[in-house]
Symmetry: C2
Subunit: 319 residues, 2 copies
């Protein structure tokens, strides 16, 4: 398999910086471009910091990271960024029109061989690439935050994406240590976005209703269902929960309880009104104010420790 000679990341926010840090940590040359010079400037300290943090977290090798960072560059124009890239990673704001215009411009200057991927969290490829003519090399590769630590990447091909482009994206992502999963139908939100939207609505609702406060909710999810699902996905969790009878027995015993909640007990509101936004923001800021850098570093330590633990458990002999 051929690795990209150059990756271009467009958009220097959290996700773009994460993609750049990840690619640099694999020793790959990365060019970055953002319309906002201040954002680009910040990325120039953030990408090396986050790539080097992967060494401290035992997720990357110092020599390879430094080799990659030697070839980390800032492009002065979209043309300069894209013209000799093998892979262009779009990571701008989640705005369909902005993405359409960007890909229209990229198409004008990119080589016909260049793989074009969007980091969109929810938009269908038909919308993102609506202004492109050459659609065979266009697809969504949706990472989670932070992209350099969480392995999952959702692969969402459009109707006219070629099998070769999907395979190339899979190869690149696996070479970066990612776990790409193919989404078979481009439903809004794909898989992760829908699950995340369902979870966050319940979490917001529980806090706004006064059932639980922000730090307890976060602890409960972390040390409860999330830990369980990190060790075994939801279907396997319930298949194992009822003993020998498997999911059939589980449904016999507990489907009524789930249906009791599906039947009007869960949150169904569709908008977070300004007053609720303020209430939520205040509750979250009260819980975590002034400690963001420390909390992010602690989160990254926990993430890398979980990754290492899962890798070791996978290779351990069955007990």
């Amino acid at each position: 398999m051929t690795m990209p000679r150059k990756v271009t990341v467009i958009g220097a926010g959290e996700i773009g910086v994460g993609w750049a840090a990840l690619c640099a940590s694999a020793g790959w040359p990365v060019a970055m471009f953002d319309m906002n010079p201040r954002t680009t400037e910040r990325a120039f300290t953030e990408v090396p910091r986050r790539a080097r943090a992967l060494v401290a977290l035992d997720r990357a090798t110092q020599g390879i990271v430094e080799r990659g960072l030697l070839e980390f560059t800032q492009a002065r124009s979209l043309l300069q960024a894209v013209k000799d890239a093998d892979w262009v990673v779009e990571a701008i704001a989640e705005d369909a029109v902005a993405k359409q215009k960007l890909f229209e411009s990229i198409e004008l200057v990119a080589s016909p061989e260049t793989l074009l991927t969007s980091s969109s969290t929810a938009l269908p490829p038909s919308e993102i690439f609506a202004r492109c003519r050459k659609l065979d090399r266009c697809l969504v590769t949706h990472p989670l935050n932070p992209p350099e630590l969480i392995p999952l990447v959702e692969i969402v091909p459009g109707e006219r994406t070629s099998q070769a482009a999907v395979q190339r994206a899979l190869d690149y992502l696996r070479a970066l240590g990612r776990m790409p999963i193919l989404i078979r139908k481009p439903v809004p939100g794909y898989v992760v976005g829908r699950i995340a939207a369902a979870v966050w609505r319940e979490c917001i609702d529980l806090v706004l209703q006064g059932v639980i406060d922000v730090p307890d909710l976060d602890r409960a999810v972390s040390l409860g269902p999330a830990m369980g699902w990190a060790a075994a996905g939801p279907h396997l969790t319930y298949h194992l929960a009822a003993g020998e009878g498997g999911v059939t027995a589980f449904l016999q015993h507990l489907l009524a309880s789930f249906e009791g909640l599906w039947d009007g007990k869960l949150a169904t509101w569709q908008r977070l009104e300004p007053q609720q936004q303020r209430q939520l923001t205040q509750a979250i800021e009260r819980a975590y104010a002034g400690k963001v850098d420390m909390l992010r570093a602690a989160r990254d330590r926990r993430l890398s420790a979980i990754l290492r633990a899962l890798e070791q458990a996978r290779t351990a002999p069955p007990s």
Copy 2:
């Protein structure tokens, strides 16, 4: 703090066996009772097996586990099970009437000092304890599966539960290495059940729609959002996702995307029809058939590895 001289677990299904294994692994005397003699018999091999597995998983000490198992007994009647217990843990099926009748009977034979807790996943305490007269010592302590590994326990007091009983439950659970979280209002499903119901409905819907198959869905959740939420709960995750601007910036950039999904894109069905149950069951059995013991052992290895990783990350010096 006084530890219970004896814990009685009523109901020898997966959750009851887990509670018994957990208490025995702490060296506590445990009595078990189940109306079904076959279930009781199976528990008599399962509780020692699961308590000893905690030693192999590095979650318990052999000498303490064996001391506890020496005092693990099977009660022949509810009276025998309950009469000298300091803590009675109900873990029968999720059936409000059955739980009401059981607690009515327990009240007749238990000492007035005995703490009574239900492992219900969703019912309000007012319903579970509806036939009890002495409500100050009654509350819900909802564990996840398997209770001996997942730390979270939801504490749901009823309106008349005493502060002393809540404190005693907290003390017992913390002595067992659990992470009890107080639920302030007894909403149906509490916190975990609502989040789990929202997640599972989406997961089922995605599989039945053909967006993703069962093993890929489970992998995607495990190596994606669940791993993220295990390292930082949902509110903290989104507070950290937008960089310096915190949750305010996150809402500015991504609330519209969440609202786009809340607005009719997520699953809203309330019943899983027999035909869909068959389809789901077949898909899950096809994915995991014939490997349940192996999958459970692997899940438990991953869970204990994650627990150890989080404990080590917590005590590690900040990098």
